[in-house]
Symmetry: D3
Subunit: 284 residues, 6 copies
């Protein structure tokens, strides 16, 4: 992974252990076209597996963050009229799972993913940001579960993850009506951690947070992500037990913790080893 | 179901695909008497099964929304002194399940249920509104888990559903002390979606939201409700899978979705078919 | 248990059915040393089992509530260099479970535990207050998941319980960066129920809440705690059923409930029997 | 409920606290026609709610126990060609749930249900017997998940309950191929508790078991059923806790248990009070 | 722990890393009296914590393994007539949990527990053996869920654990009727691993199995127990993930595994380090 | 995929919609070397995604089915001595998950997988066959959880899946001791569906079963697999609901079911359309 790589639907830049992905189809409101669906999971996967960065920031360009699914995706889909209908349904199920997987990858990555959202965050974009770890937005941002207005039920994660992020009563109103939720409302509801005046100040602030994260032990941070995600889906008793087993292998105080003590004494920033690379093409 | 029907404990009016149920025993603070317990589940059940409306609004009359269980219910209960005590307990358990079922029906209905709450929402009324999809209230509304003050533990859903709607720390304070939570506090905690100056402006706003919902595809809305309720009780992984299977049968883009496109082109509101009626008296 | 007992790391006073525990090592920022770990679970256990109070308030002394683990705990731990490494890991797991259990005891106690927090609540202190029922703090209070800054993953409950108390997106930012969360932010997020100007006004207010709780039927309050904790970790359907079975044994309207009616008629405060004592040294 | 009642698809006889239901359409292989689907749940429901018996035995007539769904059910179903396809699917889902509910009622009944199976137990009949508590069969009995041979997936409980009754590897072979499982194989696999030479000896033996059950405290037996069903679907920890709460209300040693001691002393059979009747038409 | 210690209700002998516990009140059919309930958990706890053995064998003396609860336990229980009834129920719940805990300790121990059962295994004894890892019996052994015959529901684990060990249909028949299950039936059902002619040959065979277990790496065996118990109560996906985290700390191939290779080369039995002792009186 | 393809560690032949995979390193006891780990998941994945067959049969060659992990895998693993130890553990966890995934693929495939096992099935081979749908073996077959004898805990699925296939008490004895389980014992325990005299008769019989499966509607069979696997990991209530949603899309009686009726009338075998191919390289 070069420090800066250009894809069709996004640009990636890795600086100071921070990977910055920017959606770059501003003239199309950064809708998710076929390029996006092919590039996005691959990019996240590579950064994660190569331990190329310690944190990912995803932002966008233009007036709106992302207007959701690009309708060309539907029209480009080859239609085979002759497939028996139940088999078409089975195929549709697989397609939904496949698209969901493109966002699950944010949750399954070993490193945090921060979303910096300006303007509209619509339809599939809500599915995407729901799967990230932390969300930040500009004061003119808004969120819309647009799918209901298009006569369908959102199916890529919004209805599964939002109820674990904000009040269910609010999620329902948003989903049933398809109305826009403002930045302020999103902050009060707990969907975004902070609201900023404009994209410049937002990016500056988010990069500062990312810099903080990148300065920490990547293993300690990775453990936090694993534990918090696990806690969402399990009882507290199960989660505490999981933590105890995790620590048995991952807590080696003589290394990362000792480094923080030594660094403090030596009045310098602690330095931590990266996580090891994952090479799925090999078993080991 | 006529467009307007009167029951002993409530009135029902169905206009523009919105069913408006109003508690009408204002002089008794709309307490839940035997009439209520018999009429309420039947009314919701009928609207739901007959697809008589696309959304239900429940409001009340007088100074207070509802003061909870009417004490006459206890006194009217026939006491059979001679029943062995463990069997009485088994019977009590069945009674609790039976009363709980009267509110579960709000959750299990295929269509959204909105609550418009003025004044006091007390005891059993909190159990009821917790089981609805969205809550709205007037600025003079207040909520009270009154049961603790009566020496008992609330048993019809409040303690089961509130912790999934608002901060557990707050639920506990409210439950332990029985103190009143104000409208403002309820808004900040996420229990109600919005607070209005008075009942008139509240009803007007809630009807507007209901109108929005009634304008959407009833199947898309029903899917949202099913998914959000499912997400509350399952892991994200299970919920995503469930969504994929749901879509395999319920997502037929050539119908509802295409109608929204066509309607937009033709500059008219889209028109959607109702859900089919359910007739429990017949197998098919 | 005397009305006022002094331990090395805390003082305990039981007045008017309220047990007030105060951390008393202000000069050491009330860090959790070996004394604390041995005394704390014993104290809570005794109050709970002896039904010595109806509610526990935990506060602290000095500028800061608690600065987390005392580092002496690590250095005092006997190091046996010769233990095989996997067995050391098994032992580490058991140690983590053992420390977690010291805070689980707050959750498992039959009576509510209220936390009154001034100044810094850091590291292990966040694990502790997360396990309490309700949290209150002064306006100068702050919360910090300090462990990440020390190169390790918090392992005593913070990452397991906080995501069930406040927005997951915020928990993640706090955990990844280790930054301080202010009192105001904690209030808005729902971590604390209320913020007070200073410790005096906080203690006064918290004692008032505790007094309210102590005036209620201890069995009704205990049922609330059991139900709310259960609801956190189970589906609504399971929780409702659990409630119905609980009531079959614990709801005896002719006693506590009737007492509230009688007391009202007689214009006096109702009087409730204590829960029975638990004696673990005996089977019965 | 009279002691002997005749329905179109079955006969019911209640003797000595045993309700004996017999499928009586032997000339049609006792297939499940519309009469069956309407009568069966009503019959079980009535026996259970009226505490009319302490145990239910279901047997059949003719050469085969039951050949599953009567095809007339499909053809009698009114076809409304004009319903939008996704709404038809929603309707189909509701029909499946409705049919499943007819067998769930066996599981939810407070009293045990024993199945005495002769000859073929095919398709929907396997769904039905899987939902009972205990199964017994004649040596010429066989079981067949016939649905796969008809090009569909069994959907009324077989695939959900059989894997909790017998080896999953065997369930899969049976489901994939649709082949017949013999009585002997069913016994070895644990599906049936015992195999008998012919229907007469089977009925005689099953009635003896039923008589034993009817001689026990109906509350103790009901508790066993509730606990074993609960255990199937929950962790052991959850189940043990559930048991402890159940006992708090249902274990009153001074009554049923004392009666067994007294009866023993007095050399007579103990006599136990029936469970109370449930009247769903009334709240209390 | 001495190599041979005598308690009032049992004897303990630790030889060759095998702890052999024998119930020694043969004249009283080894019923569980107060001595038993106090000694049993303490004995298991000590062996486990002190790593005093690598496997526990529990057998009995006389004609019958154990006839369950000694009725003296009930009569010795102090009766306080004046306790309010709901509080008595709360107390009863705690008693049940306390007794259950005495058998949970078998499941939670780090080392395997084998049961060698002769003659009758009745009532509470079935609760006990269900909580062990493996069961073996003599050909004259029988098992009886006696509680139903005494008018109560078994409450110490039988109904929670048996359905995860043998066919639910059989468990139900046994629980509903209280009839005896023979050794042969227990073997076929999978409750016991093997049946032996008499106690002598059984003990000889079980000790051989125990010797095999004691020859293995205690950490590898402990991992097996943890994983199999975990699998019972979790999904396969959760269990696989748990395994992966467990191995991260507990799989150190350079030690135990390498020792097996070396030992093989050197034609000797491998030697493994014991698990570390657990001292609950200290935090570390 | 050609009808017959040769890989380094196995051969594949697809005839009559049956894919037959044979391990072909008989001289090495078909141990799982790097070739195996790379080829196996790819082969299953391809058959599944390309809908190249309706059922997979996996058998082996030589005296033994498979002796588990090839030790060369460990030695070939590059050792980087300088990696910090906690990071090595994180890497180890990922390796375990990666290897587990190679067998999970059997469970996740849309089509059944049958195992035909001769001689020894040892260590990793038990993990593999546990993940298949059905198991068959020769009379000289035996199964061994060999890992315990090598000083480690089996970590690729055996301890997670076996307790859901056979008696937990037996799994524990096998895992703790590492002893061999004979074909007969495996049959009685329910691990294998049938035992055959020799490999020839076994393969002949298994191919007959596979032929039966291949003659069924592949969608109906796929639904069975999905439902049975789902039932293993969920409550019956959840599983029944899942089934109802599945049917809403997958049950189209006018196609596969009607074909079976028509074929019967026309006295021919029914013909069913294949499942659609899955192309993961494309979104649609």
């Amino acid at each position: 992974m070069n420090n800066s790589t250009s894809y069709k639907s996004m640009t990636i830049e890795v600086i100071n252990k921070i990977a910055h992905i920017q959606l770059n189809r501003a003239d199309k409101f950064n809708t998710m076209n076929l390029d996006f669906w092919q590039e996005f999971p691959k990019v996240i996967h590579d950064i994660n597996n190569k331990a190329a960065a310690r944190v990912i920031v995803i932002s966008s360009t233009g007036k709106h963050f992302c207007a959701g699914m690009d309708l060309s995706v539907f029209t480009q889909k080859k239609q085979d009229k002759n497939i028996e209908i139940a088999r078409k349904h089975e195929e549709l199920r697989r397609s939904v799972l496949q698209l969901q997987a493109c966002f699950n990858i944010l949750e399954n990555a070993r490193i945090p993913v921060l979303m910096a959202i300006q303007g509209g965050c619509i339809g599939g974009a809500v599915d995407m940001v729901s799967a990230a770890d932390c969300r930040y937005c500009t004061s003119d941002a808004f969120f819309s579960i647009e799918e209901t207005k298009l006569g369908m039920t959102a199916d890529l994660g919004t209805l599964q993850r939002l109820p674990k992020l904000i009040s269910m009563g609010l999620v329902k109103e948003l989903a049933y009506t398809g109305r826009r939720m403002s930045a302020q409302e999103a902050k009060e509801a707990g969907l975004v951690n902070n609201v900023y005046d404009d994209q410049e100040s937002m990016l500056s602030a988010v990069m500062e947070i990312a810099t903080e994260i990148a300065a920490r032990s990547p293993l300690a941070v990775s453990g936090c992500k694993e534990m918090i995600n696990y806690a969402r889906d399990h009882s507290v008793a199960d989660s505490l037990n999981y933590m105890s087993v995790w620590q048995s292998g991952m807590f080696q105080p003589q290394n990362d913790m000792m480094e923080t003590f030594t660094a403090k004494t030596e009045k310098r920033a602690p330095e931590f080893e990266e996580l090891t690379q994952i090479d799925n093409s090999k078993i080991f």
